[in-house]
């Protein structure tokens, strides 16, 4: 019986420490030594950063509602945002992260979309903004830039 009590105590301690570990505001691998790039600089010349490991910082102003697989960070310029996309399930950004100051790290990537996908993305963006969408208004294919995130650290404001 004494052994059983010991086992139960050990398991409970392990479970409690696991729960405490879950309270951390570090996501994935966190952030390491990469240089921080201002979002406005990044978006001014996005092609120049493709393939590079960088760090961006900004307020979290949108989080994926389905799987928490991306977070949008606000730029230092009003209206601009940059998306940090992580692998589904590997890192999960909670909705409570919105409004927090976030530093995220990863590889800056460019995805060249075809016309059909470009129209779908534009339609989705228009729907989110509550605007009407005219498919004929899309005349060129879009390149989608985003940070393929490996980790992030969130601090409450």
């Amino acid at each position: 019986m004494r052994t059983m009590v010991l086992i139960v105590t050990l398991v409970a301690t392990l479970a409690a420490s696991a729960a405490l570990a879950g309270e951390t505001k570090t996501y994935g691998k966190g952030v390491a030594g990469a240089d921080t790039v201002k979002v406005s600089d990044l978006l001014a010349n996005p092609e120049a950063w493709v393939g590079k490991t960088i760090r961006v910082q900004g307020k979290a102003v949108g989080v994926c509602e389905h799987r928490g697989c991306w977070v949008n960070l606000a730029s230092d310029v009003e209206g601009q945002t940059v998306r940090v996309k992580v692998k589904d399930g590997e890192i999960v950004f909670p909705p409570a992260m919105q409004g927090d100051m976030v530093i995220a790290e990863g590889v800056w990537t460019a995805n060249q979309l075809d016309m059909e996908t470009t129209k779908k993305v534009c339609e989705h963006q228009a729907k989110e903004k509550g605007e009407t969408f005219d498919p004929n208004s899309v005349t060129s294919c879009m390149t989608l830039y985003q940070l393929s995130g490996t980790g992030a650290v969130a601090t409450k404001n």
Binding site: L14, S17, A18, A19, A21, P95
Partner: protein, 187 residues
């Protein structure tokens, strides 16, 4: 052989008791996250329209206090705000926020709260916290393997491996194998 079967009985019985709680956690959460494309398994969300007197699309420093006042919010409640576009101001609070069109005054209040119990079950199942829970989950998986291997050896005769038990075990093995083969050649 008799001693070996006795060991299997003991292992199966003791481990069986031990994993009841964890099995329920993983089973309930498994159903919930299997349907993640139908619903948000972690959070209950609300979204309702709001309307305030329009402030106009002036500088953020000027319109932000007006928006907060017209929404009935104290500054201390607000985590932060964000001018998403010239016409739209977002206000972030604990547990939700507002998105207001400054020109029309129309907006939406969004709220979320973790689903009672289910949020915690999913947190464990998906190992969101990583760390020590990884060890617990790995040990649990190992114990399930022990249960699977000892189970078929518990009963002899027509209800055991040589009879109905063997048929049921075969069905349980064939099901994932056939699915894997079909998926491999059709995807």
């Amino acid at each position: 052989m008799r001693d070996f079967r006795k060991v299997c009985w003991t292992l199966h019985r003791e481990i069986g008791f031990l994993v009841v709680g964890l099995t329920i956690v993983y089973a309930i959460s498994g159903i919930a996250v299997n349907h993640a494309h139908h619903w948000d398994a972690n959070y209950a969300r609300v979204s309702e329209p709001v309307r305030i007197e329009p402030t106009g699309a002036g500088p953020t420093a000027e319109v932000e206090p007006l928006v907060l006042e017209r929404l009935g919010l104290e500054r201390a409640q607000v985590k932060t705000t964000w001018r998403a576009s010239p016409e739209v101001l977002q206000v972030f609070l604990e547990g939700g926020g507002y998105e207001v069109n400054l020109v029309t005054g129309d907006g939406v209040r969004k709220g979320f709260r973790p689903r009672p119990l289910l949020f915690d079950l999913n947190f464990m199942h998906l190992n969101t916290g990583k760390g020590p829970w990884t060890v617990i989950a790995d040990v649990y998986a190992g114990l399930l393997v022990v249960l699977a291997l000892t189970g078929p050896l518990l009963v002899r005769g027509r209800k055991g491996l040589a009879g109905r038990g063997g048929v049921l075990m075969g069905v349980g093995i064939v099901l994932p194998v056939v699915y894997a083969i079909v998926m491999r050649f059709t995807r």
